[in-house]
């Protein structure tokens, strides 16, 4: 199913916490939107594609991802999955279709890895239903795919950053989504784990046909795994298309104000970006 955003606009300044000067109370005052985080954004995520969302800090990548996930509701425009507007779906129905891997996940309690992964089954279970053998099999399979079977009984909080991220990805896979949205999944990881997660994502995309959208600052990660790129600047889509066509010295300069060499790396087998200096 195609995930598409049609002319989305979103502003965080809709409701603002404002001290009421006439009394000592603090109260919420509605505010007219003055600035939009996203304005008139349209993107189309083809089924089975691995799309990268690129753009500088504060450009609206994470906001776009949250709108695509249905966590935020757009002021204007709509997000559609297939021919259904996602705002008409219940949280449960939506979570059966779309899963999200955030940059970091900090549970408030000391869950085991198995428990974390099984939480992915939540949208598939009824109010009083406990997970059964089928759910456990799905969770085990997701753990095999991400290579964490041996960690099942470990406490999530004791794991390394790379292991944690694989647990969260396994939990998202256990949701059996059509679309997986990832927000900077490698941001806090070292080089080795970055490559590991990158190849894992590529493999899951290829072998399972999970449509993925990946928001990232890492241009080389995007170049190595993404087939499609969406470039976002100041809340608008600058360009979208096939990764090889969109990622050029000129677009990197437009996005980040950085002069960079973009060239095809024979041994890596993908485009690489080497920043040279600030514009």
């Amino acid at each position: 199913m195609t995930l598409s955003a049609d002319r989305l606009s979103y502003s965080y300044s809709r409701v603002r916490l404002k001290p009421d000067t006439t009394s000592q109370r603090v109260r919420l005052k509605p505010d007219t939107p003055t600035e939009f985080t996203l304005r008139d954004v349209s993107v189309r995520i083809a089924p089975g594609s691995l799309t990268g969302l690129l753009g500088p800090n504060g450009c609206g990548k994470t906001t776009l991802l949250k709108l695509l996930a249905g966590v935020l509701k757009p002021e204007l425009g709509s997000v559609r999955l297939g021919d259904r507007e996602i705002r008409t779906l219940s949280p449960r129905a939506l979570a059966q279709q779309i899963a999200v891997v955030p940059q970091e996940t900090h549970p408030a309690f000391d869950f085991t890895v198995m428990e974390m992964v099984l939480m992915g089954r939540h949208p598939h279970l009824g109010a009083f239903q406990l997970e059964g053998p089928a759910d456990i099999a799905i969770a085990r399979e997701a753990m095999t795919a991400t290579g964490i079977t041996h960690l099942a009984g470990r406490a999530y909080m004791t794991l390394s950053g790379g292991e944690k991220q694989r647990v969260v990805i396994a939990s998202a896979l256990a949701q059996q989504p059509k679309v997986l949205l990832l927000d900077e999944p490698t941001a806090s990881l070292d080089l080795g784990y970055q490559l590991e997660i990158a190849s894992l994502l590529k493999q899951l995309n290829r072998e399972r046909g999970v449509t993925m959208v990946l928001a990232t600052h890492d241009l080389n990660l995007a170049a190595s795994v993404c087939d499609t790129l969406v470039l976002v600047r100041e809340g608008r889509v600058l360009m979208q298309g096939a990764a090889r066509e969109v990622l050029t010295s000129s677009t990197v300069e437009q996005l980040y104000g950085v002069i960079a060499d973009v060239s095809f790396h024979e041994r890596a087998g993908h485009l690489t970006v080497v920043p040279v200096r600030r514009q």
């Binding site: 409701v15 603090v26 919420l28 949250k66 996930a69 249905g70 966590v71 219940s90 949280p91 449960r92 129905a93 939506l94 979570a95 059966q96 779309i98 899963a99 999200v100 955030p102 996940t105 900090h106 549970p107 408030a108 309690f109 000391d110 869950f111 085991t112 198995m114 428990e115 939480m119 992915g120 939540h122 949208p123 279970l125 109010a127 009083f128 406990l130 997970e131 059964g132 053998p133 456990i136 099942a152 009984g153 470990r154 949701q175």
Partner: protein, 346 residues
């Protein structure tokens, strides 16, 4: 060593149905045993046979009077209050994503206490059926505190801010405490003494009527709790993470907040603010059965009941015939036991 670790890991990934069955059986047996034994023990020895002997008129049957009037209501109120405070603690800790939260963190008990203080100091006394002035006033105070915190922390149709919830609760707590001190200051000596005793918490309810008055609220709160555990698991990852796993965050947060506040209000209006139960019991339970709320919540209800009944038994008997306030006992027993488990674990 590694074998023991592997076994422990194996136990932690057992299917939920098995873990739930084992936990409920174990804690259930403990709670039933505690509640059956507690009424038999006390500063005066009683014979169960005589207590149930219908041939002796009740007015002449001292054993029956002690059993039915002094001890059984006390054990029942202990079980009810213990279960309510422990589960409310679990729900607040998950809602606030903070293991240090207690049922009293958000000012519910301070509101309840202020209500009770006012009625005691003003000397108001009435009763309607099972309802009487002090519990009603403390329940009303708790409702006011709950309403204020909710109003402060809830933007229109959006998820609650746990930070604002916590800050609003803590501030409200201090403010109500100041008002309580003021009310006590202007009160005369005997009223102030009665008020101070109420604040220590007391399970000696004297009859079944106060229990009957508190039961509907607690049952309603428990019915809502039953809907929550799976959502609480996911909510403890954060509001956005919960939303993307299919939790209706705004609805779940509201249900959690109001049901936990209701359970706390009912418990405090029945027995006063008995501290420590709402934080020690959930933590002890988690140390024993893991952190999955589908197990922790029912286990805390059972263990909370057993814990408070046992603490009250200690309060009645340790320095008999002198009774220690049960709130002091919960703190004296709960604190060190908790520390011991914590140290043993690390």
């Amino acid at each position: 060593m590694s074998e023991a670790v592997a076994l422990a890991h194996e136990a932690r990934i057992r299917p939920i149905r098995i873990r739930l069955a084992i936990t409920l059986a174990g804690f259930g047996a403990l709670t039933v045993a505690t509640c059956l034994l507690a009424p038999l023990v006390g500063s005066t020895h009683i014979s169960l046979a005589r207590a149930f002997d219908r041939s002796i008129p009740f007015a002449d049957n001292v054993d029956a009077q002690i059993f039915w009037v002094a001890r059984l209501p006390r054990v029942l109120s202990g079980a009810l209050v213990g279960a309510a405070l422990a589960t409310a603690g679990v729900v607040f800790q998950a809602l606030l994503r903070n293991p240090l939260a207690t049922p009293f963190t958000l000012g519910v008990s301070a509101g309840a206490s202020l209500g009770a203080m006012l009625v005691i100091i003003l000397g108001i006394s009435f009763s309607a059926g099972p309802f009487s002035a002090v519990p009603l006033a403390s329940f009303a105070g708790a409702a006011v505190a709950t309403g204020i915190v909710y109003w402060l922390a809830t933007p229109y149709r959006r998820a609650m801010s746990t930070t604002v919830l916590l800050l609003a609760g803590v501030t409200l707590n201090s403010f109500f405490s100041a008002l309580i001190l003021f009310v006590q200051y202007v009160a005369d000596f005997s009223q102030a003494y009665r008020a101070a005793r109420w604040l220590m918490g007391d399970l000696d309810v004297g009859s079944f009527e106060p229990i009957v008055a508190a039961v509907p609220a607690i049952v309603l709160a428990f019915a809502v709790f039953a809907l929550l555990p799976a959502a609480l698991n996911v909510l403890s990852l954060g509001a956005d993470a919960a939303a993307t796993r299919g939790v209706d965050v705004v609805r779940s947060q509201r249900l959690a907040f109001f049901s936990a506040s209701l359970a706390t209000s009912a418990a405090v209006s029945l027995a006063g603010p008995i501290g420590f139960v709402g934080i020690v019991v959930p933590h002890l339970v988690r140390l024993m059965v893991g952190v999955d709320h589908r197990i922790v919540l029912p286990a805390s209800a059972l263990f909370g009941a057993a814990f408070l009944v046992a603490c009250d038994l200690a309060a009645r008997t340790l320095l008999a015939p002198v009774e220690i306030p049960v709130g002091v006992v919960t703190a004296l027993i709960g604190g060190p036991f908790f520390l011991w488990l914590l140290v043993r674990r690390s």
